[in-house]
């Protein structure tokens, strides 16, 4: 029993077969070095706005250290309901249609586990956030990756969906604005995808964690399309727009049947989201509008800068519409993404994430996060320019 081989054989096959995230490996290489400028960080460089931190501290002083309702504090669910309705025009009842989760990560896991039976297919688009494919496999579902293309600005098209749909397709998982490509959808794109979902009777999971960070257009949520509210689980959270990653706060909005199903899993695995984080989120919804406006304006300036810099260097990069990532096309240098990223790190001490961490079709790209201090972005761009000159 003691040797590692026999222990490994005890591990569930589904888990054994899934590789750990490519980001993890890269993280370990980067962590072993000093003075790295990292464009590899998928979270805001802003610290949580002060008044939100104070709300958490006040709640702790008051002695808010208990469990909450499984669904989350009712006052928070009310705030979430109002927030979502203001943005999308779609109302959800705080009593039975809103569930507070530990980050969108948990929300996604709940949604997939609530819906998927062995063999059910989940359509999702790549390059994508690292957890989508594994979460589907953990639930014994079949991940069906649709490779979005640079020519389409990494927007998912109806034609691509039609190519991959099958009688076993049950769920469509969307993430726009997108990590890692920075792509966002137009209203028309969203309507076409919605029509497809209705026609094929799919449940849609829409991860809109980056919706507040849409720069050149109004974000349009798929739940706003008539007929979609009743077949969609809307996933959102406080990490990005409010710079609250460490609070681990997400939420889902969905019809009562779906919310109840997710709540059951949440109830028996997580019980509830941490109360201090919930208290902080109540404050975030009440008073953080101007923080969001400020941070978004900052990201937009950096987006402009990083995009213009890549263009100047002759590295093709679609102008990111949302989130805080630039997905730069480095294919012309004749290296894999991994080789490029490692060499860049080695020679110039700049860390970017190889595109392949987000799916095979990320080959030829690197993800550069501009949730990075401006001075660091400037220096990183100088170093990347120096780097490619020698290639």
């Amino acid at each position: 029993m003691n040797d590692s081989k026999s222990l490994l054989s005890k591990i569930a096959k589904t888990v054994r077969d899934i590789p750990r995230s490519g980001i993890r490996d890269f993280f370990e290489i980067v962590s072993s070095r000093e003075d790295v400028i990292s464009l590899g960080i998928g979270e805001p460089d802003f610290v949580t706005p002060w008044h939100i931190r104070e709300a958490a501290a006040r709640a702790l002083e008051r002695g808010a250290t208990s469990y909450t309702s499984n669904l989350g504090l009712l006052s928070l669910r009310r705030g979430i309901s109002k927030y979502v309705e203001n943005k999308t025009g779609i109302g959800y009842r705080p009593e039975n249609e809103v569930l507070v989760t530990v980050g969108v990560s948990e929300g996604l896991d709940l949604a997939i586990r609530a819906l998927i039976e062995p063999g059910d297919e989940v359509l999702y688009h790549e390059p994508s956030y690292v957890s989508y494919n594994p979460l589907i496999q953990f639930a014994h579902g079949v991940p069906v990756a649709i490779q979005t293309k640079k020519e389409n600005g990494f927007r998912l098209t109806r034609a691509e969906l039609e190519e991959h749909v099958s009688p076993k397709s049950k769920v469509l998982l969307l993430n726009y604005p997108n990590n890692p490509t920075g792509a966002a959808l137009s209203k028309k794109d969203v309507e076409e995808i919605a029509a497809f979902a209705i026609e094929h009777d799919l449940i849609v999971l829409t991860d809109e964690i980056y919706d507040e960070l849409t720069y050149d257009r109004e974000h349009y949520s798929i739940i706003s399309v008539p007929g979609m509210r009743e077949r969609t689980i809307y996933l959102h959270g406080f990490s990005k727009a409010w710079a609250m990653t460490g609070f681990r706060m997400g939420f889902t909005c969905a019809p009562p049947e779906l919310t109840e199903a997710m709540m059951k899993i949440h109830q028996y695995t997580m019980l509830c989201a941490p109360i201090l984080s919930q208290e902080a989120s109540i404050e975030a919804l009440k008073h953080a509008e101007k923080d969001i406006v400020y941070m978004k304006a900052e990201y937009k300036k950096r987006r402009n800068y990083i995009h213009a810099s890549f263009e100047e260097m002759g590295i093709p990069c679609i102008r990111p519409d949302g989130a805080f990532y630039a997905f730069a096309d480095i294919s012309k240098y004749g290296m894999t993404s991994q080789e490029f990223a490692l060499k860049l790190l080695d020679e110039q001490n700049v860390a970017c994430v190889p595109g392949t961490a987000f799916g095979a079709c990320g080959e030829g790209f690197i993800r550069c996060s501009y949730a990075t201090a401006f001075d660091d972005i400037k220096e990183a761009m100088v170093r990347i320019a120096r780097f490619i000159e020698k290639l």
Binding site: I41, A308, S309
Partner: protein
């Protein structure tokens, strides 16, 4: 406020090339706008924000509330302008409330500040009274928190 001015307020050293990239306009346009701001007196100066505490021979800031009698011609302006002319005076503001002018002066010692108040400011015609406060420590100045050392606590790479 104009986006260019905001950027310069954050970092007056930002190069026109970088400003052009951020704003999506040409370098020439940036230079033209800055020149116009300078010409029109919108931009008055470019200065460093110094943490005096870090210096061996730091300057001492004194804040003085001044009550004055407005003049029949010129109101508060003429006397405020006269006070502003002294090189040791850093800032002068006209205030509402219990006093009229708020004057900031910089000096090497408390004595120097005291001498300016008692021998120059308090005896100026039109000055009714003064209340002098010595500044002990600057925590935040011009929007900048003066202590440094809050590092980036994030992981170096994350999804």
């Amino acid at each position: 406020m104009n986006e260019l001015l905001n950027l310069l307020k954050q970092n007056a050293f930002e190069s026109p090339e970088n400003l052009a990239k951020i704003l999506g306009i040409t370098v020439d346009e940036v230079k033209k706008q800055i020149a116009a701001y300078e010409r029109d007196g919108v931009i008055r100066a470019y200065q460093a924000v110094v943490n005096e505490e870090k210096l061996d021979s730091s300057l001492f800031t004194t804040v003085i509330e001044v009550k004055i009698t407005p003049e029949s011609e010129g109101g508060f302006d003429r006397i405020a302008d006269r006070i502003s002319r002294f090189p040791e005076v850093e800032s002068v503001f006209l205030m509402s409330g219990g006093f009229d002018l708020l004057v900031f002066i910089k000096g090497r010692t408390m004595q120097e500040a005291f001498r300016f108040v008692s021998e120059t400011l308090a005896i100026m015609p039109g000055v009714i009274s003064t209340a002098t406060h010595f500044m002990m420590k600057a925590y935040k100045q011009n929007g900048i928190i003066m202590h440094t050392g809050e590092g980036d606590e994030r992981l170096k790479v994350s999804p």
